[in-house]
Symmetry: C2
Subunit: 103 residues, 2 copies
């Protein structure tokens, strides 16, 4: 597994949540089929007025595979449907990691 | 541990990265001392032009404890120093969780 984390924040109006989720699941299926990522978590805001209603955090298995998937025509079609949600995908590394047992 | 995840995205200009990190570590120390969170990961963008240079993802041990810490005068002082970075803290639950082994 690579150390690269894909984080994507989405601005989704409440009334378009179902539409967003349909597209997200379609994108997720493409990435899973490609073995581009190792695991993913889609987070939903607890409060309805959050700036970002959904945030996806995925551990990438291969950055190159991920890049080839998002460049594919299938993925571009899905991306176009999600453009209204102002997706801001970024690749990240973990700069600091801590758990509460550390002093 | 609660199922609540705190995600905070930050817009940090490259030249203010050190200043941001100092404040982040001060906030982190307060939260750790309070047992408000169980673990945290600060993510740094791989590419310098990412919209959000830093994103923090923390598993909260207790939402109530976290709320009492962020309401404290010490935390408010740190928050004021970080206001320029447009922090957008939000509480989240995991809506979908998958790993690549799932079909």
């Amino acid at each position: 597994m690579s150390d690269t984390v894909l984080i994507n924040v989405f601005e989704v109006p409440a009334e378009r949540e179902e539409e967003f989720l349909q597209s997200w699941h379609a994108a997720d299926a493409l990435l899973r089929a490609s073995s581009g990522y190792a695991s993913t978590r889609l987070h939903r805001a607890v409060t309805p007025d959050a700036r970002f209603r959904f945030i996806n955090v995925a551990q990438l298995a291969s950055v190159d595979t991920w890049k080839s998937v998002i460049a594919s025509p299938e993925f571009r079609d899905i991306s176009a449907k999600m453009a209204d949600f102002h997706p801001s995908p970024g690749l990240y590394t973990v700069a600091v990691e801590r758990d509460a047992s550390q002093g």
